[in-house]
Subunit: 459 residues, 2 copies
């Protein structure tokens, strides 16, 4: 155990070589990238995403100016800073981006906006892109684990810790030294922000959190490259992130088996298009419905047995008034699963307040479960108790929800989700989506990462 974990973590990110990353980690990182790109396409047209995109254009204030970096939702190009900001906003909107269970961090939406933009700006190779992305995942996940459960009760970890993940990815992309990378951590950590308060008002802050985590992390690394100094112990210091925003931080987690444990492959894909805290119960309910061949109308009540974090995040919404809020409502998610078999983007868009779904919602309650809570956040166990109208009490359970590392999505499933998201938002036709997919699967082999669209597109 080092006496300076921030420094050890910065050195790891700075020195991570593509050749030292095992092939299965590279392969999974490509899958995570493709999955992320689908989510970014899926954000096109969403009001908060388009508002941030308009802000970015106005802040730049240079209508004719071009750039090397794709804005995925509208296929314009801009600087790395504004591309990271806009793509960071876009890729978290449909609630389909990945999540790491133990850290409760959504790494893709803060890491790939940065690595893609910088790789395009620098004309870097696919191998560099992968190495930098893995650096972002490995750092971000460990910092999320370090900050602990107390942090997540008030703070949106993907906003706060995501800034460090983005900085680590950017630092590796810019080939910063370990010392510069530590400076970047300092400038990123002192900008770490993101509060859950917005949830109870269905406000738009979630997109702002991911946009600015990506942009601020990139800024921190660019400043460090230019000699800007940051705090050397921003994570574990006496007036650092944990001191200010956690009561159960454990510095040992920052350097947990660096280079041996690949946290990147522990990341889960999202199958349902809802807050991840609903997925275990959704899959458990599906298992009961399938096992007992229940009709949704047979179900009198469902109790979802959950961890405390689920209650903290989902508990504030009783009757959702927007699609986005519905994705944070256990009753709506279980209703969609029961009636439609799947809680995807189209199901939410069409039916979140449909009569049958709203009626089912009223029959769902959450209860804190000791076993589930103890296992969390390392494992997200799904448990439900279903009572039927004919008086039966049925138990459902899944130990790994669909998309979790032990129950991961296949490349076919990821591709299908990608095409579905592109079609949902209208960001790409079926043919365009297929072309984007073909290129995206080959990102690790690219000699030079360039624009995804049009003439200059990577093979």
């Amino acid at each position: 155990m080092t006496d300076h974990p921030s420094r050890a973590l910065a050195a790891f990110a700075s020195q991570l070589r593509f050749d030292s990353i095992p092939p299965h980690v590279v392969e999974r990182t490509v899958n995570l990238y493709v999955d992320w790109l689908g989510s970014a396409l899926g954000g096109k047209g969403a009001r908060p995403v388009e508002t941030i995109a308009r802000f970015a254009r106005a802040a730049r204030g240079a209508p004719e100016a071009q750039g090397a970096c794709d804005v995925i939702t509208d296929r314009t190009r801009t600087t790395a800073y504004f591309a990271a900001m806009t793509n960071g906003a876009a890729s978290h909107f449909v609630e389909q981006d990945d999540v790491h269970n133990g850290s409760v961090l959504h790494p893709a939406t803060v890491v790939f906006p940065v690595t893609l933009a910088l790789a395009q700006a620098l004309g870097a190779s696919g191998q560099e892109f992968i190495a930098a992305s893995v650096a972002g995942y490995e750092v971000g996940i460990r910092v999320g684990e370090f900050m602990g459960r107390s942090h997540y009760k008030i703070f949106h970890t993907t906003g706060t810790v995501g800034t460090i993940a983005a900085a680590a990815a950017a630092a590796r992309m810019l080939k910063l030294t370990p010392e510069q990378t530590l400076d970047a951590f300092g400038s990123a950590g002192t900008q770490a922000s993101g509060l859950w308060e917005f949830l109870r008002d269905a406000a738009d802050s979630k997109q702002l959190h991911t946009a600015m985590a990506a942009a601020n992390g990139l800024m921190a690394a660019q400043l460090a490259a230019d000699g800007f100094r940051g705090a050397q112990r921003i994570l574990e210091g006496a007036q650092g992130m944990a001191a200010g925003m956690s009561s159960d931080a454990d510095p040992a987690k920052l350097v947990d088996r660096l280079g041996e444990r690949w946290a990147t492959v522990e990341t889960s894909f999202k199958y349902h298009a809802a807050c991840r805290h609903t997925h275990p119960a959704a899959d458990a309910l599906l298992s009961v419905i399938e096992a007992y061949r229940l009709d949704p109308d047979d179900i009198a009540s469902v109790t979802a047995h959950v961890h405390q974090g689920a209650i903290d995040v989902l508990g504030s919404v009783v009757v959702p008034s927007t699609v986005h809020q519905a994705k944070f409502n256990m009753g709506t998610v279980l209703g969609l699963v029961a009636w439609r078999g799947y809680a995807g983007v189209n199901e939410f868009e069409r039916d979140y307040s449909a009569g049958d779904i709203a009626a089912f919602r009223e029959r769902v309650t959450m209860a804190l479960d000791e076993e589930v809570d103890r296992a969390y956040p390392a494992r997200w166990i799904g448990k439900v108790t279903v009572t039927t109208r004919d008086g039966r009490t049925l138990q459902g359970r899944v130990d790994e929800p669909k998309g979790d590392p032990g129950n991961t999505l296949s490349r076919d499933e990821i591709a299908a989700k990608f095409v579905r998201l592109a079609a949902f938002s209208g960001a790409a036709s079926g043919e365009e989506a297929q072309r984007l997919l073909d290129a995206a699967w080959g990102i690790a082999e690219a000699q030079r990462v360039s624009t995804l669209f049009g003439e200059g597109a990577s093979a």
Copy 2:
């Protein structure tokens, strides 16, 4: 007492009319603006400031593009976003910008970068500029008081709360409705950040905090103008700023005598160019030296009797290794005061590590004082105990350090400080400084706030 203090505060900021601001408050706001402009000029050439300016140019990525908003340090023009960012960085560097005692907030460096940039972008009148600036001060100060002493132990209030002050000023400048202003508070508060950890490494984060508080606050208001929703109780809500970053927050302070108590005029000017926590003791030491006609060599030791906040912020630096760190070192400040009679920018630059100053530094200690601590932060009492080489024990005391509201600077003193700062950094010649001063004193009467420099300059 309202049951929704965030909303009451947003409504106040949104509806503040120039005509309802008493003349003495307008006059003091002009003084604060002039004092701020001097600090911004003083930041020219400082490495962290220039690094942020380079970042802003690269992030914009449009070398030919112009804008309506002055970058004060280099007289270029850009968009409101990047002007706020760069001027926010510049105006906090020389540690000469104002401070409000009760909130421990430096309002000028987060408010004026926003109001000046937006007034220039919109061609707004001087009266609108003053009203928006006062809105920023009144809101920011109350939010700082609300967050309490526990917040300031870990967080740099000017970074965190400064984001809300900047948002309030920007919202008023953009003529947002009360509802939109509340949205802006939500988007600002969820980006509130800034940790003291950087102090122990003499890192550059202080400039980043003020740059991004100004830029993020402006962003929050621009997003709100475009329909982006924010949390409705970002300050006092169960997962809001106080819940996450304070243990002694008092919501009543948010709405303390709105429109009756003018907190703006409670703001202190900085006389010495050091962290404000050193000023009471510096003035108390000066009073002893003057009263007993001491020679610095007569002094065997000095104990500065301080409040806990001073120990928290100043305690981490023992031997300063940079000018900036020296400004956070009680011994260095008292040494400069004793030997040079004043701890100004030139004294720090030339002598912070000079032999006599370093030797004096070793004779200074801080001690927590119950009376001083109890009075803080409403009053910043200065108390020192001096022991002399000939065996005397002498007490020094000031109840209001120079620059405090009851002991404020005259316009002549502000002008002299302005000219000194412009000359120190080379940002303006004596003649240019005088021209800038003449225009700045008349800002409240300007029909239209335009560039400060060159052809298009305001009268």
